[in-house]
């Protein structure tokens, strides 16, 4: 029992010291393997604030822990699809990001996203898109369409992967068939289901971790995310990333201040800090996705600043859109389609 007492004592001492030091501390709750250690080092050196990072692996885990309260975190990094839930459930404080000095660096198209009108709650972290990866040595036709996986050309049959993410796959199929994301139109959804079920035998896998497989030329096409497409191209120069003209989904993760944060000033300092171009560049350098800060390309590795996977070419920008989490009854139909697809 002595051990228990000691650990309790140690714990009490630890908690006391954390109160005493509260002036210079910050607890960041972020996706695992997503925060550049160099960014944190720089922040600590410039501000003297000590940052503790804790990982999560899904929006749901993060939401569950923060909802329960008592978590001790100051900042979290939810995805755009979940951010409105955080706001509507009153989990966030409003730090008025739009009035922070470095907000001037935020690119125009990121100043008023649907999921955070007026951008008061969230400071941009990273964003990306769901598109099509193709090994052009196998197929060199038009790759800017979801037809690559849904109506695959003969050369690609049996060499296709689809990311096992329900919302991304079903939304892509709906857009391909001319519908709207989150549609409840049963007739269209039936067509979506038939299309997916019909296409599946032509796929090789529904899996993550495609970079290695493109490098090893085991796969020739995939519905996947742009960051991975970029990294795959560095290993296999024939890989290209297509932006489907039927419309494709964008996603973004953004830093928010939690209502029960203990280190509010430190947290705001951090939010402002990451909107400076040199710091946003560090964020992208590590996780290899774009940020929303003008001028940050100068601080990215060169291969990245010019990558068409990271910086969307002008002609394709218009096709991309953010989609919210669909209402529960629609979500239910999606799940039914998904289950059938998994059979």
């Amino acid at each position: 029992m002595k051990v228990a007492q000691k650990s309790l004592l140690a714990g009490v001492l630890l908690s006391m010291s954390s109160i005493a030091l509260a002036a210079g501390q910050l607890n960041l709750y972020n996706w695992g393997n997503y925060t550049n250690p160099k960014l944190i080092e720089k922040f600590e050196k410039e501000t003297g604030i000590k940052v503790t990072i804790t990982d999560y692996d899904s929006n749901e885990t993060a939401l569950a822990k923060v909802r329960a309260g008592g978590h001790g975190f100051d900042l979290a990094v939810p995805s755009h699809s979940h951010l409105p839930i955080w706001v509507s459930e009153g989990l966030l404080a409003n730090p008025r990001v739009d009035q922070m000095p470095n907000f001037k660096n935020v690119a125009d198209e990121w100043r008023n996203p649907d999921w955070d009108p007026g951008r008061q709650y969230s400071a941009p972290w990273q964003w990306g898109s769901v598109g099509i990866m193709v090994d052009t040595s196998v197929y060199n036709g038009d790759i800017n369409t979801f037809g690559i996986v849904l109506d695959p050309p003969q050369e690609l049959v049996g060499k296709i992967n689809v990311a096992p993410e329900m919302n991304d796959v079903i939304t892509s199929a709906i857009l391909y068939l001319g519908g709207e994301a989150c549609t409840g139109d049963k007739q269209l959804l039936r067509k979506v289901r038939d299309k997916l079920v019909e296409a599946k035998p032509k796929w090789k896998s529904m899996d993550y971790g495609v970079i290695e497989k493109f490098a090893g030329r085991d796969l020739a096409a995939s519905l996947y995310w742009n960051g991975a497409a970029f990294r795959a191209r560095l290993k296999n120069p024939d890989v290209r990333y297509g932006y489907p003209r039927e419309g494709y989904s964008l996603w973004a993760d953004a830093v928010v201040l939690l209502k029960d944060a203990k280190n509010v000033e430190e947290a705001k300092t951090f939010m402002n800090f990451i909107m400076a171009p040199e710091n946003a560049g560090l964020i992208s350098e590590f996780a290899r996705y774009a940020n929303s800060i003008v001028g940050s390309e100068k601080y990215m590795p060169e291969d990245m600043a010019t990558a068409p996977e990271v910086i969307i070419p002008k002609e394709f920008i218009g096709f991309g859109k953010f989609y919210p989490t669909c209402p529960p009854d629609v979500q239910k139909m999606y799940t039914a389609i998904w289950t059938e697809l998994q059979k």
Binding site: S7, L8, S15, Y29, T54, D57, T61, A68, G72, A287
Partner: protein, 270 residues
């Protein structure tokens, strides 16, 4: 053991070797590529580029891995020690007493963590600890350690209880006959005989705590990532053989511990 002719001996059933081999194959085959690719030179988990210890070095030099590993070891050590002490007391209380009402209930209660799905315990603890954290503003390791202790108890309890049940009661009775006080009898006779069981229980508890993901993920406070939750966090992005290297080390530790447990519990209670 004396084997009578004609008795049912599973080892002599037709196809025994084949079935046993197939089972071992199914159990261990999936681990083989994981281990093999941990020695890969390239930063790829599916493309072999040559033999190297690069990823072991990288994992070793990675500060996040270091601190997560130390945290895992500390939590597992403290939790398994407390769990073993408690489990020993419960085991004595359920075997070295006259049968009493509710004994079976106690047995079931102690083994509850084996039956209740981990996610249920995790969510329950998340809610309970959140209330305590809000009320006390304490965010230290006591939560993680008490949660780990709780689910480690049955794992420590089972080998200790098995040992106690297999021990010859005559020795304890003899000690009592020779005017040993109950405490003396326990200290001089029961405890030394029980030690292999206690060590086996403690090691099993240690391994269980070391490997836990779900409960830890929900209970951990800021800056309390253990090795398994750190690994879980890595999976969203590219997986490098570093994860294979860490997994291989964890696997090796677990295998060594389980082997030791096996030898300890095989030691006959004389």
């Amino acid at each position: 053991m004396v084997i009578r002719r004609g008795a049912f001996v599973i080892k002599r059933m037709p196809g025994f070797t084949l079935v046993a081999l197939a089972c071992f194959f199914a159990l261990y085959m999936p681990l083989a590529p994981l281990v093999v690719y941990s020695f890969n030179e390239g930063n790829n988990i599916a493309l072999w580029e040559g033999l190297s210890l690069r990823w072991y070095r990288e994992a070793w030099d990675n500060e996040l891995v270091q601190s997560a590993a130390i945290r895992s070891l500390v939590v597992a050590t403290v939790a398994s020690v407390i769990a073993t002490v408690l489990a020993t007391m419960v085991a004595l209380g359920t075997t070295r007493t006259r049968p009493y009402r509710g004994q079976t209930t106690i047995y079931a209660l102690v083994n509850q963590p084996l039956i209740v799905p981990e996610i249920v315990t995790a969510v329950a603890l998340l809610i309970l600890f959140a209330m305590i954290k809000q009320a006390t503003d304490y965010h230290g390791y006591a939560y993680l350690i008490s949660a780990h202790t709780a689910f480690c108890i049955p794992f420590a309890y089972l080998p200790i209880r098995a040992r106690l049940e297999g021990m010859d009661r005559v020795l304890e009775t003899a000690a009592a006959d020779l005017y040993a006080t109950p405490w003396q009898a326990f200290k001089r006779v029961t405890l030394p005989l029980l030690l292999p069981g206690i060590f086996a229980g403690a090691m099993l508890a240690f391994v269980i705590s070391l490997d836990d993901v779900v409960i830890t993920e929900f209970v951990k406070s800021a800056g309390q990532d253990t090795l398994p939750t750190y690994m879980l966090g890595q999976l969203r992005r590219t997986i490098t053989p570093e994860i294979n290297a860490i997994s291989t080390v964890l696997l090796t530790v677990s295998v060594i511990m389980v082997t030791l447990i096996f030898f300890l519990s095989r030691k006959k209670a004389k």
